[in-house]
Symmetry: C2
Subunit: 247 residues, 2 copies
């Protein structure tokens, strides 16, 4: 159990690896996907970091996250090119050796026509010692799991398939339930009352999210809790507050 998780809580950190996200050339789609997915299966995503393809930055981030959360997930940097340094960086972070893995090599040999498994492609079989492979049904080159760290591809379709592959192996917590209340008001009109309701229901997490549509300010209030009856009572209190502020 990681330091930041208490009973019934399973926590996660997510590390997005890639210069292309930081330069803006590629717009990340994996954070939103993983956030939704983990919430749905009862794992709390607590932190995300995006770092460049620089070994010391990857090592620093993965070592910070893996001691703090139950699970760490990474995306990006496991392809065949010179800038794909994630596997070597993870091995360095754990202080373990890395080499061509016979299981990964066999997968690639079965996939490519004879003579087509170039040394560049063989790079994708470099797996740290002691890791389990993560199946890649899309393009075959596997991800891997080393202790609590799950290393996945950055291409969203592949990353999503890998998350599906590992999900059955993950311990999940009591699922966090949520209700949303839409208020046709700027949030400052109900902020004080919502703060009181948060104090009345300490087992809940109440978030208030301002929105603009057509130049008008509206608010969505989201109430989250692991216990449904508490959630229902807190939601009723929020609905009553919105109604009295609107009326």
């Amino acid at each position: 159990m990681a330091a930041d998780a208490t009973k019934d809580e399973v926590t996660a950190g997510f590390l997005v690896i890639g210069d292309e996200i930081l330069s803006g050339r590629t717009k990340d789609k994996n954070i939103g996907f993983l956030a939704d997915y983990l919430t749905a299966i009862g794992i709390d995503l607590r932190e995300v970091r995006v770092v460049p393809d620089v070994q010391e930055r990857i090592i620093e981030a993965v070592n910070a996250l893996r001691v703090r959360y139950t699970y760490v997930f990474t995306s990006g940097g496991i392809g065949p090119t010179h800038d794909d340094i994630t596997a070597d960086s993870i091995a360095a972070a754990f202080g373990v050796a890395i080499d061509i893995d016979p299981r990964a090599r066999a997968i690639l040999e079965a996939h490519y026509p004879p003579g087509q498994l170039t040394s560049a492609r063989l790079r994708m079989a470099r797996i740290p010692n002691g890791a389990d492979l993560i199946d890649n049904p899309v393009s075959k080159a596997p991800g891997f799991r080393l202790e609590n760290v799950h290393v996945m591809a950055g291409v969203p379709s592949i990353m999503q398939a890998m998350v599906d592959a590992i999900a059955p192996t993950l311990k999940t917590g009591t699922k966090m339930l949520s209700r949303a209340v839409d208020a046709d008001l700027p949030e400052s009109r109900i902020a004080e009352r919502i703060g009181e309701i948060q104090q009345d229901f300490p087992e809940t997490l109440i978030g208030s999210y301002p929105r603009t549509s057509d130049g008008r300010f509206t608010t969505q209030i989201v109430i989250r809790a692991r216990d449904e009856s508490i959630l229902d009572r807190a939601t009723k209190a929020v609905e009553d507050a919105v109604q009295s502020a609107t009326g």
Copy 2:
């Protein structure tokens, strides 16, 4: 000059604050926007972190980023509700006091009808001692700058307006130029040659980004450099490599 920046380089870290991003309920749009914006004005975004509305996490992240990069930008958590704790957390990170700021209060007083500046709304005038205000043309409640940390709203339209407001005050580096070469090949077909070109042109950053479209694997190779003539020569080498691999 921050530790991680060398001559002609201006660097940045971005801290996204909010439970709603980590739960998946809100899909972040600010990372991609800021990445594009900073690249366009010659500032290198080097790291992004997403943390929940938890004071110790905000303090830890902002203190890690502000000593490392020329600039830090934050989004989220400066509204009027109980879960908006960014301003107080930034003050705590710097070890400075925070209170209702007369300048911010005046802005809010001018904006709301008489009697409508509730105590919840007045929370938005809490600004750490020594900070400059950042103009908010959309909904008035200001952001602020404290030393190299720029604190902005999370709502994308407001965040973007705030970035426009502060951009003229930022020191910018020599702009990183980039060229993209599209290759109708899986990246493993050209990975080795691209790695050699990277070695031949150490002043460039060459990234290789696999894509899937209609089940086919293609690759975009992006070459970045601050010097245009080097960029042109490296790009020509990549184009030649792609042509010979395709033909």
